[in-house]
């Protein structure tokens, strides 16, 4: 496929937003069980969730650049019964609403204690909103992943690993940003987020690595023989029927060399996983916000390369029909 930057930014930006919100919610749930010190609602959970919301909004804005007719975007909520894209269109604003409510309640201090145990666990209203937001975050991750995993003849995508990658990569980048954010507004939580970021990034490396291994050994189900239905081992296209440009020759191929593709793979593998982990470790040891922020920026650049590669690697069977101009 030809990677579209609107979709690359959409998926990476909402991934950061979702991960950052999960990080804020995780922090609050730990403190509800008295495993972590409770933070200032407005300064940490509130502000952090507003940052997450900003990323979700930025992703939504990016998605409009992919549409030919953005003024009709509201129509895309209609087919949620069959279309994962439609489900994503519903889940994204739903999550944005929940994150906004969660952030606002923390920011204005609107909270009620619903339940507290003698051992000290406290169930706040904000935590209930957080649980809903957490569930919606995973719904959105699954919708985004299934948009790609659901197209069965794009064999590089049609795997549960695609969904797992979206979940882990998005969460990892959000947690990296949360670590940098915590170093400023809640330094005692920096290590908590830092260690979780390292663990999640490691898991993301494993699942992305697995999908790379899987994709390296894929055997294409469609061949030129099944495409035109002629049984002969040697068939060559002599003409695709036109010399002008067309969507079918533009949208389904990355138009780069294999050399370029291979290098993007190594670039994203280094930028998304070991380099930010190293920066994160040094940043935590030196309590340097700049290094932690650098870790996030490097990882985000890595994710852009990762998403570019994700699209470029998918080989659409329609390309069998468009191999030779004349």
């Amino acid at each position: 496929m030809n990677p579209a930057f609107s979709v690359i930014f959409l998926t990476t930006l909402i991934g950061v937003g979702q991960g950052m919100f999960l990080a804020m919610f995780t922090g609050q749930s730990y403190s509800a069980l008295e495993l972590l010190p409770l933070q200032n609602g407005a300064g940490f959970y509130g502000a952090g969730s507003f940052i997450a919301l900003a990323f979700l909004v930025a992703g939504l804005v990016a998605s409009f650049f992919h549409l030919g007719r953005p003024e009709r975007a509201w129509r895309s909520a209609a087919q949620w019964r069959t279309s994962w894209l439609s489900r994503e269109v519903l889940a994204l604003p739903a999550l944005m609403g929940l994150v906004f409510v969660y952030a606002l309640m923390h920011y204005l201090g609107w909270d009620i204690l619903l339940f507290s145990s003698r051992a000290g666990a406290r169930l706040q209203l904000t935590l209930v909103v957080g649980v809903l937001g957490m569930l919606m975050t995973f719904v959105l991750f699954v919708c985004t992943g299934m948009i790609y995993a659901g197209i069965k003849f794009l064999q590089e995508w049609a795997s549960p690993l695609t969904v797992v990658n979206y979940i882990l990569l998005g969460t990892a980048s959000g947690f990296t940003l949360s670590t940098a954010f915590a170093s400023v507004s809640a330094p005692e939580l920096m290590r908590f987020y830092g260690i979780w970021t390292l663990i999640i990034t490691l898991f993301a490396f494993c699942s992305r690595g697995l999908s790379l291994l899987r994709n390296a050994r894929i055997k294409a189900k469609s061949t030129i023989q099944t495409a035109i239905g002629i049984r002969h081992s040697k068939i060559e296209q002599k003409s695709m029927g036109f010399m002008a440009g067309a969507m079918t020759t533009r949208d389904f191929f990355h138009h780069q060399t294999q050399w370029f593709l291979k290098n993007v793979k190594w670039v994203f593998l280094v930028l998304t996983f070991p380099l930010p982990m190293l920066l994160l470790w040094i940043g935590m040891e030196n309590e340097s916000t700049y290094l932690l922020l650098a870790a996030f920026i490097v990882q985000y650049l890595g994710l852009i390369a990762e998403r570019w590669f994700f699209f470029a690697q998918a080989n659409h069977p329609q390309n069998l029909y468009y191999q030779t101009v004349s």
């Binding site: 007719r69 279309s83 469609s222 329609q318």
Partner: protein, 243 residues
């Protein structure tokens, strides 16, 4: 239930592209607006077409064969492009099985083009909506046309009659008989899309001549010592009975 479709005879197609040009001509003149065609006589022309004729070479020199291969939307019975559409702009008509796009609902997100393994959907870069073969739905039901002309433009244009049009669910229709009797097949059956359009394979007419056909042989009956009986003069049983 009706399922209109094309049956394309690869044995007859000569690759003249008449179906491509007549398709473009009809569909750029219709009520749905132009079919984009930018810089047609200039550098970097680009445009949207519903129908293409491709050329393949099968085999290795000197045993090669050129196959001209017209391709347009296959109007799948289980179209993967329809359920993925987020707006419902893509739909399959109940009454005749034609897969259509509602140009007023399409948001141009291109997801349906990803979901078509055959590459039969193209975005109109001017109107910014997805377009595809309509089986000339604005023509085949037009009662102001004489009945013989109520067929897709590509079918009418084909000089060799390589394109048949009809209902593939009616077992006795011209298209069903052609599929049944001439080995009609579908493209990429591995994805279970059940295309309604079928292709009739290349067929070579061969005459196999055996050695004994080249050598004048004696009447074999004579060899077996059982020559034909001589004509009879007396009346036979056949003359007097009616059985």
């Amino acid at each position: 239930m009706t399922q209109l479709a094309l049956v394309i005879d690869l044995n007859v197609c000569v690759g003249c592209h008449a179906c491509v040009t007549s398709c473009k001509e009809w569909n750029t003149s219709g009520s749905a607006g132009f079919l984009v065609d930018e810089n047609p006589y200039d550098k970097d022309p680009t445009g949207t077409f519903f129908n293409r004729v491709q050329t393949f070479e099968v085999g290795e020199y000197p045993n090669t064969e050129t196959v001209h291969f017209p391709k347009s939307c296959l109007h799948c019975e289980d179209p993967p492009c329809v359920p993925v559409c987020p707006t419902g702009a893509s739909y399959k008509r109940e009454q005749d099985g034609i897969v259509l796009v509602d140009y007023d609902k399409c948001i141009g997100c291109r997801y349906c083009s990803w979901a078509c393994p055959y590459g039969m959907r193209e975005i109109d870069e001017k109107q910014k909506v997805m377009k595809k073969c309509t089986l000339c739905v604005d023509r085949i039901y037009d009662e102001s046309l004489p009945e013989s002309e109520r067929k897709p433009a590509c079918v009418l244009a084909c000089p060799t009659n390589a394109r048949l049009f009809g209902d593939v669910h009616d077992s006795e229709s011209e298209v069903s008989v052609a599929i049944r009797e001439q080995g009609g097949y579908t493209l990429m059956p591995e994805w279970g899309t059940k295309p309604a359009n079928h292709y009739l394979p290349r067929r070579r007419n061969r005459k196999y001549i055996h050695d004994d056909e080249l050598v004048r042989a004696d009447n074999p009956l004579k060899k077996e010592q059982r020559g034909p009986s001589a004509p009879v003069d007396e009346p036979t049983l056949d003359d007097s009975t009616s059985w």
